[in-house]
């Protein structure tokens, strides 16, 4: 027997194994950062995400001098590029825009009823601009929009994945434990759902949403759409695991003890399913985030005043702008980072939960 003073719950065991994966730990750090961004997004954004300035501004150059940080914005030189016929910009002679911490800004709503009039980092004077990742076609700061969009994109994904995970868990466990006709019919349903080509179906369903619905309703419908198919795969896995668990000796022992079905499911089967559910949850989130971005790229995005990464990528489709203004691809960075972080954590979690 080990002589640890602390008890070795399963949770602690998993954590210890998780810690060994540096990729997983890195991912976890990023996720914590993302959580902060979800809550404090508008505060962390250097500029007002909806304020419009000159369109398609090149990213500002950030520099530091004796007075602190500053940003340089490229100014039109008055001449045009002979090939693309776009105005040529240059940084020479640009005015230094001071950046300060705890900068004053127009009041905005942070979260619910909380309004603030300060930002973490911002321009020293209201109305000045500093575009870390450039400005989009309406002159809005991409970096700020990207930060604020984290909230919608992640919360949307979280809702969808919660719904699909709960449904998959419920259906799978029921089918696995009850067996018989219930199981057979549920399996047939799952078979049909799994046979649907997923992406085309989402495209189809998405295209059905009338253009005139309000932003909130649109999001709700989008969530429902993405949840329709997603639970089928998980339910199959859960069913398999439930079948295996129901045959475990400790379940037999519990029956021999006189435990009823409710107790067995609650105390013996469900806890042992949780690890699988948690891993599945963590690994499904990035796929939904990606789906939302892709659908947005195809024109199926949330509506302003909401901002999501998918909406930002909508500007990229048509490819007319990216030749001259490649920086409008930068929302891609946000998605990449999020997807990598979730996958890293999910992978490490999967290995920690079941190293065999």
């Amino acid at each position: 027997m080990k002589t640890d003073e602390k008890t070795q719950t399963y949770g602690r065991l998993v954590w210890r194994r998780f810690r060994r994966s540096w990729l997983g730990m890195a991912g976890l750090v990023v996720l914590m950062g993302l959580a902060v961004v979800v809550v404090l997004g508008p505060f962390l954004a250097p500029m007002n995400p909806d304020a419009r300035y000159a369109p398609y501004q090149t990213p500002s150059r950030i520099g530091v001098d004796s007075d602190g940080f500053y940003a340089l914005n490229a100014m039109p030189t008055g001449r045009d590029d002979p090939v693309t016929l776009q105005p040529l910009l240059s940084f020479t002679g640009a005015e230094k825009v001071r950046l300060t911490l705890w900068a004053r800004t127009e009041p905005y709503r942070l979260l619910g009823p909380i309004t603030l009039d300060r930002r973490l980092i911002g321009t020293s004077r209201i109305g000045q601009r500093a575009h870390l990742l450039g400005a989009d076609r309406f002159g809005r700061d991409i970096f700020s929009r990207g930060l604020v969009a984290t909230r919608v994109s992640l919360l949307l994904a979280l809702t969808v994945v919660t719904l699909t995970t709960l449904t998959g868990l419920l259906v799978g466990a029921t089918a696995g434990y009850m067996g018989g006709a219930v199981d057979r019919w549920l399996q047939r349903l799952v078979d049909v759902l799994l046979a649907f080509p997923q992406l085309p179906l989402y495209l189809t369903l998405g295209a059905l949403i009338p253009v005139t619905v309000s932003s909130g309703l649109f999001v709700a419908i989008l969530i429902a759409t993405l949840s329709v198919l997603g639970w089928a795969g998980l339910s199959r896995e859960i069913r398999g695991k439930t079948l295996m668990l129901a045959r475990m000796d400790y379940v037999r022992a519990a029956i021999a003890m006189g435990a009823d079905d409710r107790r067995i499911i609650l105390h013996h089967i469900a806890p042992n399913l949780m690890s699988h559910v948690l891993v599945s949850f963590t690994l499904t989130l990035p796929t939904i985030v990606l789906l939302e971005s892709f659908l947005g790229f195809l024109g199926l995005a949330v509506k302003p005043p909401m901002i999501s990464w998918g909406l930002m990528l909508q500007d990229v489709s048509g490819y007319s702008a990216i030749g001259s203004y490649p920086f409008i691809l930068s929302p891609v960075i946000f998605v990449f980072v999020t997807v990598f972080a979730f996958n890293a954590v999910g992978d490490a979690l999967r290995d920690a939960v079941d190293p065999y």
Binding site: L23, V192, A195, P197, L201, T204, A207, V335, V339, F340
Partner: protein, 338 residues
């Protein structure tokens, strides 16, 4: 049980699913108010300069002519009946061509691309998987694992966007978005034409294969590590066989099993990848066709493509199961001696 019987059983089981699928698809597509005739009407007003009354009349005639007034189920029955009896998948309202033609034009490239990507991904994945497993714990393994992680998590359509940007706007490539350059389009097949084809489609294949390779590698590595610990591998070593023989004669064949089973999952994954990338690149395959059809309400095209894709995936699954049965004498000789 013989192979033929196996196939028949699986096909029979698949039919109700396909029928149900086609019905649901059709209903979904017909769900929103408005149909192609409305689209026609809008176009006539906006681009044709017709008045509202004229456009209405035209739309009405169009509807009657194409049977768009009938109840949904009747339309479905007509469509499904057409497929079964005549192989007639309906008429594309937008392109004014039989849907079957469009499918015949778009489906083969999609499948070919997906299959090529898949074969490439699997072959490379297996090799790298074997490499990683036999060098488990060394830096080679760690590097390959990292490579697999990046490959699996990289979103394919985002990668496609980046590659597109680089190719078109940085490298001025004119080979994106089509299958062949103009000069080869109608020419007879030659080496030059094949090279040209590859030059055009390589981004799609590579990007689609990228994720699949990582998957295959991971699975192969995992399986092989398990198998290398199996008793029969130790027996093989104890017989005095060379390491190569032990790995490739005994370990790898047994590790391939789950990989064959995984083919059932892999095919939809590869097809989805191909669709995503093709949409980004605008290549004339299934993906853009569906997107285009949905945008204008071209019912028959969209429904047919859905149906055809679903059938393809189901067939893929069945073939994968068949492959597994052929490979494994334990399954093949089901019912043999104890």
């Amino acid at each position: 049980m013989s192979v033929v019987l196996f196939l028949l059983k699986r096909l029979a089981a698949a039919i109700p699913i396909v029928v149900l699928l086609s019905l649901v698809t059709f209903l979904i597509i017909q769900a929103p108010p408005g149909d192609y005739a409305d689209n026609l009407r809008t176009m006539l007003i906006n681009q044709g300069g017709a008045s509202a009354a004229e456009a209405d009349a035209q739309a009405k005639t169009f509807r009657e002519r194409n049977g768009l007034n009938d109840p949904v189920l009747v339309q479905y029955a007509r469509w499904a009946g057409g497929i079964v009896t005549r192989g007639d998948f309906g008429f594309s309202l937008a392109a004014n061509r039989p849907v079957a033609d469009i499918v015949a034009e778009r489906l083969p490239p999609t499948l070919l691309l997906a299959l090529t990507s898949h074969l490439l991904a699997t072959a490379l994945g297996i090799c790298l998987g074997v490499l990683a497993a036999t060098r488990a714990g060394t830096w080679v393994d760690t590097a390959l694992n990292l490579f697999a992680f990046v490959g699996m998590t990289t979103p394919r359509f985002l990668l496609a966007l980046l590659v597109l940007y680089v190719l078109v706007f940085r490298l001025d490539s004119s080979q994106v978005g089509s299958f062949q350059s103009a000069q080869y389009a109608a020419a007879p097949w030659s080496l030059g034409r094949i090279v040209d084809l590859i030059a055009h489609v390589w981004p799609v294949v590579v990007i689609a294969a990228w994720g699949g390779l990582a998957y295959s590698m991971r699975i192969m590595r995992g399986n092989l590590l398990d198998v290398l610990n199996a008793q029969y591998v130790e027996t093989a070593r104890a017989k005095g066989l060379s390491p190569a023989r032990v790995i490739f004669g005994h370990a790898v064949p047994n590790a391939l099993h789950p990989l064959v089973a995984y083919q059932g999952v892999a095919l939809p994954y590869m097809v989805t990848g191909e669709i995503e990338v093709a949409i980004v690149f605008g290549l004339a395959t299934v993906g853009p066709a569906i997107v285009g059809a949905m945008a204008v309400g071209d019912v028959f095209v969209a429904a047919t493509f859905m149906l055809v894709l679903a059938i393809t995936l189901i067939m893929g699954n069945i073939l994968a199961d068949l492959g597994l049965a052929l490979l494994d004498p334990r399954i093949r000789l089901e019912g043999g001696a104890k």
